[in-house]
Amino acid sequence: MKYQGNYGFLDELSKKEIRRSILKAVAIPGYQVPFASREMPIARGWGTGGLQLTLSLVGPQDCVKVIDQGSDESVNAVSIRQLIQDTTQVETTWHTREATLIQSRHRIPEVPLKEGQILVLQVPIPEPLRSVEPSEEETRKLHAYGEYSLAWLKIFEQIIKFDQGSLSADHPVLVNHRYLMAPSPIPRFDNPKMNYNEGLILLGAGREKKIYAVPPYTEVKSIDFDDYPFTFETFAGKACRLSGLTDVFLDEIIDPKTQTASYQTNDQSYLLEILDEREKEKHG
C-alpha cells in the first residue's frame, strides 16, 4: 500500500521544532538541547531520537544509510531504513561515501566523513553524569558551572578497581573545551574519530528528549588523567579473517565447536567494499 502521510512521517511543525533544536545544538557544541520528542512507529529505545533527527533533515536529494552496530542488515537497521524510504522515497545506500545522511547505532563508520555529510547517532542516555548524579536538576547545574569532577571520579574508581582508565563504551568527551558529552555507546575506538571531524555529527535521544551536536572541525577530547591517558582498543596481532585488515574495529567470533576465536571487521559495508575491490582487481 502506498504511504499517504506527511513527507518524512513527521508533520511540518514538528520538523520545524526539531530543526530549531538542531540549530541550537550546532551553535553550542556538546550542549544537550531539550526537544519535544514525538511518538514514532518504533518503540522508545530503538532509535526514536535518531529517527526524528533523520526524518527532520532528510530531503528528496538525500541518500540515506542506516547502520546498527556496524551492520547494514540487522533487523533494526533494515526496519529504520525501510521506514525512511517508505515515507520519503529517498535513495538508500550501503556505501558510506555515497550517503549524505547516515543514521547509526553505536558505531562511527570506518570510512572518514566528508564535508556535507551528516552522521546521526542514536543515544540511550545522553547525560554523561547520570551514573554518578541521578538528579537532572543537579546535572544541569553541573553543566552550567562546568563542574565535571564527577566524570573524572568515575574513571578514577575504574582505575582503583580494574587498573584501567577507560570505559569500554560511551567514554565521556569534552567538546570544544566546554561541555562534557556522552558520545553514545560507541566503542572508545571511535572516540578519536569525532575530533576535528569533517562531517556534522548529531546525537538524538528520543526517550530522554535531548538533541546535541558536534559541528565539523570541533575539538573533541576524551577525558583522562595525566598518568592514565585515554587509550582505545588495540587489536595487536589480530587481523580480519576475511580481509586481513588490522587498523579497523574487529568483532571477536567464537566458533561454538572448537571454542577458538577469530576476528572480523565490524563495519560490514566497509568490509564488503574492500572484498569487492579485491575481487575486481583479481578478475581484471
Partner: protein, 278 residues
C-alpha cells in the same frame, strides 16, 4: 595589633519565606521564630562569629536552634538571606563570599574548607571505594595525577586508622565510626585551613565517640587547622572546644571560653543546659 580571624561571619541571617509587616516589626517576639500570619521561618537571626587560626570553636544549642544552618552557610550549602562572610587566607580576596559566583564558592569549598556531616550519607559516596571518596575532593580541586592522589588518600586513611586491606572497599560496608573517620580523611584531603564538623559523634557509641574526638584533637594539634564544631552535646564541646557559642532560637545568647561557659554560665538557658549535664 590584634590577630585577624581566619574566618569571619557578620550579621548572618537566614529566613525561609518572604516575611510580612507583622513579623518584620515583631521579629524578637515570634514564638519559635515562625510568623503566625505569613509562616515565614527566621532560622538564624543576626549571628556573628570569628574563628582564629588553630582554634576550635564550639557551637551548642538545642535542635532547631540554627547551629547547623550556620555551619551549612559557611560551607555554601545554605544560601544566606543577609550577612557577610570572609575567609582571610592567602588565596582568598577580602570579599563577601555570600555574594561570590557559584564557581568561586565551589573552588573555595574544594580547596579551603572541609566538612564532616552528622550523616555520612551526605558526605560520602557510599558505593565508591574509600580511596575514591578521599580523591573526590582532590579531583574537584583539579588534581589529575592518579598515583599522587592514591598515595595521598592512603596516607590520610592511614591517619584515621582505616586498614590498608579495606581501602578499596565502599563505605557502605563500614561501621558508623569508620564512615565518620573516612569523612574526616576526605575533609582533610586538600589541606584546608578550616574544618567544619556537624554533630560528628551523634549516633556513635561512647568508645567510638572518644576515638573520633581524640582524632580531631590530634589533627588540630598536629596540623594546626581551625575548626568549628557543632554539637548539642556539651560533653563533646567540653572535650575539644577552646571557645563556645550557645544558640537558642536562631540567636547567639552567650559566648566565651568553653571553661567559662561551663563553669559560670550567665544565661538561664545555658545554666539549664550545664546543670542538666551535671
Amino acid at each position: 595589633m590584634a590577630e585577624k580571624p581566619i574566618l569571619a561571619l557578620k550579621h548572618f541571617s537566614k529566613q525561609y519565606g518572604s516575611g510580612c509587616d507583622h513579623c518584620r516589626d515583631n521579629r524578637q517576639e515570634l514564638t519559635k521564630n515562625i510568623c503566625p500570619f505569613c509562616q515565614t521561618v527566621y532560622a538564624v537571626d543576626d549571628v556573628s562569629l570569628d574563628l582564629y587560626k588553630g582554634e576550635i570553636l564550639g557551637i551548642v544549642g538545642e535542635s532547631g536552634s540554627g547551629k547547623s544552618t550556620v555551619l551549612g552557610s559557611l560551607y555554601f550549602n545554605v544560601e544566606a538571606s543577609e550577612g557577610e562572610y570572609q575567609l582571610n587566607v592567602p588565596q582568598s580576596q577580602p570579599l563577601n563570599l555570600f555574594e561570590a559566583s557559584q564557581q568561586k564558592k565551589t573552588r573555595i569549598r574544594n580547596t579551603m574548607l572541609g566538612m564532616v556531616y552528622q550523616n555520612p550519607m551526605l558526605g560520602l559516596r557510599m558505593k565508591y571505594s574509600a580511596l575514591s571518596n578521599i580523591a573526590e575532593k582532590m579531583i574537584a580541586a583539579n588534581h589529575r595525577n592518579v598515583e599522587a592522589m592514591v598515595e595521598r588518600s592512603r596516607q590520610l586513611l592511614d591517619v584515621v586508622d582505616i586498614a590498608t586491606i579495606r581501602m578499596k572497599e565502599a563505605p557502605v560496608n563500614f561501621s558508623g565510626g569508620m564512615q565518620q573517620r573516612v569523612q574526616i580523611a576526605k575533609a582533610l584531603s586538600n589541606n584546608p585551613p578550616v574544618l567544619l564538623l556537624d554533630e560528628i559523634t551523634t549516633g556513635l557509641d561512647l568508645s567510638v565517640q572518644a576515638d573520633v574526638l581524640d582524632l580531631i584533637k590530634t589533627i588540630q594539634r598536629e596540623l594546626s587547622i581551625s575548626m568549628i564544631v557543632v554539637s548539642h552535646d556539651l560533653a563533646v564541646i567540653r572535650m575539644i572546644a577552646d571557645r563556645t557559642i550557645v544558640m537558642v532560637n536562631g540567636r547567639i545568647i552567650e559566648s566565651g571560653l568553653t571553661d567559662q561557659i561551663l563553669e559560670d554560665p550567665q544565661h538561664p538557658y545555658t545554666q539549664k543546659l550545664v546543670y542538666s549535664l551535671l
